[in-house]
């Protein structure tokens, strides 16, 4: 807590600092707590995937978990893009596993170790935004590469009456251009909202206990019960948001590949 005792500052957990106490100077190579957690996420992903590379005929638990993870993502790309989906599985898998591991690593109760503060990488719109822009760039590049200017017919559904064409084109174009923003904001907002909620009610517990009054203890107990439920909900949201991001990215790629 940067503020004095008792004051709730739920936004402090999203603060980015240079590791080692240096100043942020706006250069690309500053090693921040955010970068540190990205590397933590990267290591966790490698550990997880490494456990699934035994390639045994009868998989153990770990291998079965990794295989079902891979099957899930490749099934998603194949069902939403079709037979050409296999080409896009690596990218969809990359964003899916990065988002889900970031979400879960941000939820780990590591703060019980003094001095350690988990950082949720996906609560930064610089991160979600770049991933959305990259996915959207794939849509644009693949769309124009495969279909050329024919790609613009994506904005004109079949059977549009001629007088409505300009209007429909405009509406479809705007909804198309909004996609990267909605993709980025959905994940960012879900993560930031959940973490603010957890921070606020976690502070309620601590402040209620510190108050020493019966009312304070009551508030602590209610907040504790509430936060257990919110934690469970947040774990669900972590998985769902990763799934939604990956699913929408693959559906957008499907538009570019198959043009409706």
């Amino acid at each position: 807590m940067a503020a004095e005792a008792g004051k709730i500052d739920p936004m402090h957990q999203f603060q980015i600092d240079a590791v080692g106490g240096g100043a942020l100077d706006g250069t690309p190579f500053v090693f921040t707590n955010s970068a540190l957690w990205m590397l933590v996420v990267l290591s966790a992903i490698f550990l997880f995937m490494w456990g699934g590379m035994k390639r045994e005929l009868v998989p153990g638990r770990w291998q079965a978990a990794v295989e079902s993870f891979v099957e899930f993502v490749s099934g998603m790309t194949l069902s939403s893009i079709g037979s050409e989906g296999r080409k896009y599985t690596p990218w969809i898998f990359t964003i899916f596993i990065f988002i889900i591991f970031s979400n879960f690593m941000g939820m780990m109760p590591l703060a019980i170790i003094p001095g350690l503060h988990p950082f949720t990488v996906t609560s930064q719109f610089t991160i979600t935004g770049l991933m959305a822009i990259m996915s959207f760039s794939i849509v644009l590049i693949v769309g124009f590469w495969k279909h050329g200017f024919h790609f613009f017919t994506l904005f004109l559904p079949h059977g549009t009456p001629a007088p409505l064409m300009p209007l429909i084109f405009l509406v479809e174009l705007i909804s198309f251009l909004v996609r990267p923003f909605s993709l980025a904001l959905r994940l960012f907002v879900a993560m930031i909202a959940g973490h603010i909620l957890l921070e606020v009610f976690g502070n309620f517990i601590v402040n209620g206990l510190n108050s020493g009054s019966a009312l304070g203890y009551g508030v602590s107990l209610i907040s504790f019960v509430f936060i257990v439920g919110v934690n469970a909900l947040e774990l669900l949201v972590c998985a769902i948001q990763a799934y939604v991001f990956a699913l929408l990215a693959s559906l957008y790629i499907n538009d570019a590949v198959n043009l409706h």
Partner: protein
Amino acid sequence: MPQLNQLMLVYQSQWFWLLLCLAVIYIVVGRGMVPKIEKVVDDRNDRIAADLSQAEKARAAADEAEERARLAEEDARSAALSVTAEAKSSAAKDTEALLAKADAEIGEKVAAAEASLAEARTKALESLESVAAEAARDVVAKVSGVNVSADQAASSVKAVLANG
């Protein structure tokens, strides 16, 4: 909101580290590990399918073998039945022949016995005639004192016996 306040200070660093991490995940995990794992899963599925079809084939072969065994058993059983029937009928025939032979032998013996009996009877009757003629001569000699010849006595006895 730190995300907005710090935007200009951190975005380059954020993007640099994110691109680094995503590139590493994409190349090593996405392009390296994922296809291998997919291949492992596909190979396993293929193998399971092959094993299943093989098992199906083996079952069909087993069914066929069982059917053949059943047919062979049926054949063997009907052959055995015909053999038994034949044996039974030949045994019956043998018994019949033996019975007929025994019957004939017994009949012969009975006929021989009857013949000897009849002979004995005629012999007995003849001796009875002579005894009766003797007795009649004695009776005549004692009663009347007339000596009757043996022939006369015999013929009279014969006539009496034939009448009586």
